[in-house]
């Protein structure tokens, strides 16, 4: 029982406990809080699994952003709906559900144990093809070169999630300002943070995107940080999120995936769709990453802000 294994064991137990608390909790806000804790524990687990990129993503998006979304949704639902806390469904249904879920988990465990312990997956192939990928970090290589098509689709999914969220607005205030009015006191703590943090955030985001090509980081993580900064500024009341119908905003949102798609199309004209010549690969990947970061930041921020609720400032 090496100390690492003990740590991992503890970590796993803690995560499972947090998850059970989040799921079984009586108070909804408590559950969300436990969920965020659970997210961080999982991020640590990723570090233990030597997957730093994923840890970053899990922390930033899995725990952070999803947490914020849940909390803002909770606030809005609490205001309009009478939601109380109590167990529902008969005892019989509960036991059946528990049994079935255990069954599914058991099946998964059975499959996991039956896997070949020496399975190496695609590691050898990737390391062999890495030199032509134009980037050092294998994860970014897979993300933006070997399986660039997945990432392209994924970015479009994110963008259209926003379009879908926007489409749930009232017809009345279409074209208005996303999200609710923020009224932070001008001299309050939030306002000071709003003025202090942006420069640091900006630096961190740019670094994350730039470093992503060689070591953990990347467009998504950088974009999330930028989004956080923009939200902070908006919450602090310093700037107002642009109207939904403003053209520059929409251009910014669409720019990332559109540029990526354009790169792909040009590649196709030259023979293979999304084909990046090894020489120019690094430059192109970085350009694409930059574009993606911009769009992802805007999209994530607006996702948190939600559909347009107000027509004037």
């Amino acid at each position: 029982m090496t100390p690492a294994l003990v740590f991992d064991g503890l970590l796993a137990l803690l995560a499972v406990a947090a998850a059970m608390a989040a799921i079984g909790g009586r108070d909804l806000f408590g559950s969300v809080a436990f969920f965020i804790v659970y997210g961080l524990l999982i991020a640590i687990a990723w570090v233990r699994l030597d997957a730093i990129d994923v840890a970053l993503a899990e922390a930033a998006i899995g725990a952070g952003l999803t947490g914020i979304l849940l909390i803002s949704a909770l606030a809005r639902v609490e205001r309009t709906a009478s939601s109380g806390e109590s167990g529902e469904g008969g005892r019989l249904a509960k036991i059946a559900a528990a049994l079935l879920c255990a069954g599914v988990a058991g099946a998964l465990a059975w499959a996991a144990l039956a896997l070949d312990p020496q399975g190496a997956g695609l590691t050898p192939l990737i390391s062999e093809a890495l030199p032509q990928a134009g980037v050092g970090n294998p994860v970014t290589a897979v993300l933006l070169n070997f399986r660039a098509y997945d990432t392209l689709l994924e970015s479009i999914v994110l963008l259209f999630a926003l379009v879908a969220v926007w489409s749930l607005a009232d017809d009345g205030n279409w074209g208005g300002l996303p999200g609710l009015r923020q009224h932070a006191r001008s001299d309050g703590v939030l306002a000071t943070f709003g003025r202090l943090l942006p420069p640091f955030g900006l630096v961190v985001a740019v670094y994350l995107v730039w470093a992503g090509s060689e070591n953990p980081g990347g467009a998504f993580q950088g974009g999330t940080v930028l989004a956080a900064i923009w939200l902070l500024v908006a919450m602090a009341g310093i700037t107002e999120l642009p109207r939904v119908s403003s053209l520059p905003l929409r251009a910014a949102l669409v720019f990332g995936p559109a540029f990526f798609l354009a790169v792909g199309a040009i590649g196709a004209l030259a023979g293979t769709f999304l084909g990046l010549a090894p020489a120019a690969a690094k430059a192109i990947i970085l350009a694409v990453e930059a574009g993606l970061t911009l769009s992802i930041a805007a999209t994530l921020a607006l996702l948190v802000a939600g559909s347009p609720q107000r027509t004037q400032g």
Partner: protein, 120 residues
Amino acid sequence: MSGALGHSATLFALTGAALVGIGLYGFVARTHLLRRVLAFNVIGSGVFLFFGATGFRRPDLGADPAPQALIITGIIVALSLTALALALITRYAALSGRSSLEDEAPDDEAPDAGDERGGG
């Protein structure tokens, strides 16, 4: 060192499976819609953990980058779906004043005894 880490891969795989089970229970059994979205995210992270763990069976070669990339993509997709789900739920709450679907008992009124009250 490598041996221990090898074990932790299976450990995390099992944790992933457990998380999927727990998340599934929350997703299916709880009627409050926000709880279901939360449970969905728990299952999601469980699946990714399971996937990541299976990608780390050979610590000597380092974590397999392919699963990592796929997991990052998965997280973004999960986020998008969660965002849409939450927007729908908020809109539904605003329109109907309910936090769970009509045909399912809202959390507070369901009597403990007997099976679920259908209808509605």
